[in-house]
Amino acid sequence: MSEKPVKGERRVFMTGNEVCAWAALAAEADIMYGYPITPQTDIMQYWTRLGPKFGRKFLQTEDEISAGFTTVGGVIAGKRAFSATTGPGNTLFQEPMSMAEMMRIPTVVIIPQRGGPSTATVIYSQQEVTMTTFGGNGEGFRIVYSTAGHQDLYDYTIKAFNTAWKYRFPTFVLGDGYQAKMREPLTIYDPAERGIKMVETEPLVGLPGTPGVDRPAQYLRNTYNTEEELYDVVMDIAKDYEKAAPEIIEWQDFDTDTEMDVLILAHGVVSRSAQGALPLLKDEGIRAGHFRPITLRPMPEEQMRRAAAKAKRILVVESAYGQFLKLVKQSLYGMDKPIDTLLRPGVGVTAEEIVDRIKEGR
């Protein structure tokens, strides 16, 4: 391999898509498979420009089904393989990701969410939460990081590879159109210099030696015949997932140490608005806190409940019509807290709007 793409630490000003490409390079990703779709395409464009300089590969496939399945192929061949998609492409990705989920294939997929469901509303949304966390015909044994800006995109794209390969679950970096297309400053770094060791990859096929002679052949399958056999497989995966969850969950909380009039729950880029709303609310004499789950799957449920317990009311804010809300309700089940909402499908939310919503609710 040629020299490292990122050396030391560098303050840079770039688009989110560019950040993802650099992060994948820094994470020693070997190969990207993908199909163009706005606002994801620039990740591929940067990767195809930067990748070859560092011996990294790329394949543009015929569609997202193929992008997903070739990524699966790259991973089972033992390479750090990834893809990026969004919107209708994410829909097509659910088939290969269902296979990855059942076969414990550590794929990494970056998803800058777009609005919809539609074909040309490409700007922004948080409407792919349900699909990314629980899409496919499965149980949602996936890991989903929801990023709130460019530093997150860089940090969590690198982390996604490690989480995926450590726990062997398909892992997603859930961004959005704003983050994809906007430019903001961040620090890029060589993970090794920050003490981040990339988890070793491992081939699942194409192992050394002759199968049946030097070692047993590898038989990977996702076909089961009896209810009982399937049940056992799914329950084994569930057990592993539950066991890993406490190690995987991440969150941030703001001003949640004391009693609150309202706890704002938001994820991704909307969390920034929630953070921005806190000082404004303080000026209005409202005691507000904010809890942001960074992993939407698995969800930091206990931590969210702990914060919620100290608040009189909950306000759920998202750029979707209740997809995050559904996860929140599931997490807070049984708690006697009124939940207010600010649901803005496909539209950004500002700090001022959150403040207005809270004042209106009083």
Binding site: T223, Y224, E228
Partner: protein, 219 residues
């Protein structure tokens, strides 16, 4: 006397149920009996999950067992050599057959079917099934099947079955049988309604009390 009988019919007409009951009847007559699952068309309700229980009752059962099909996906439509050579077994043989679109051509797959002098093919019919609801439908259906030696009235509505439902089936199916020049072998009555019937139905067909197995066989 060696009995070789094939039970054929539409989806959910009750052919497996009747095949099992017939097998157990022959068994109770101290015969050696082989029951063969040849339901390849829509193998959702198959004998597979019942295989072990039926074997314990003393039947020789030729069917995939769940453990044999590990990793075979929806391998319901596979035949194995045992099935193809089924008629070579000693004693009586009962075949549970999914006919499908090719009708009697399925006997092409069974070695010796064309020359076995004992082979009788019975079509299990329920007028509660839309495809065989009227006399005309039944006549057309049986003619399409070809190679049928008799009809069985297996009209039922699951737990809603009443004696009237069964008698109506007997009437329609007997009419159809007359037109086809075929006998009605019997009218099947589930155990729960056994005391509502005498030896024959109102059309004079013999009554056979059927024990239900298939509800346990959801694959």
């Amino acid at each position: 006397m060696r009995v070789v009988e094939a039970f054929v019919g539409e989806y959910a007409s009750g052919k497996s149920e009747n095949a099992i009951n017939r097998s157990l009847e022959l068994l109770s007559q101290n015969q050696k009996v082989t029951l063969v699952d040849l339901d390849t068309v829509e193998p959702f309700y198959t004998l597979r999950p019942l295989k072990k229980a039926l074997q314990e009752m003393g039947l020789n059962v030729i069917a995939w067992s769940p453990e044999q099909t590990m990793g075979l996906g929806e391998a319901g439509s596979l035949l194995n050599p045992e099935m193809i050579w089924a008629l070579k077994n000693e004693g009586s043989i009962v075949l549970d057959i999914g006919y499908g679109v090719h009708g009697a051509k399925i006997f092409n797959l069974i070695e010796g079917a064309d020359t076995d002098p004992n082979l009788q093919v019975y079509a299990v019919v329920s007028i509660a099934r839309p495809m065989t609801a009227t006399k005309e439908d039944i006549v057309r259906y049986i003619k399409d099947l070809g190679n049928v030696d008799g009809l069985i009235n297996n009209t039922h509505l699951g737990s809603e079955t009443t004696p009237d439902v069964i008698e109506e089936g007997a009437w329609v199916i007997t009419e159809a049988a007359r037109e086809l020049g075929l006998p009605v072998m019997y009218t099947a009555v589930c155990q729960e309604l056994a005391d509502k019937f005498a030896n024959t139905d109102k059309m004079g067909n013999p009554i056979k009390i059927i024990r239900r197995f298939m509800p346990q066989a959801f694959w």
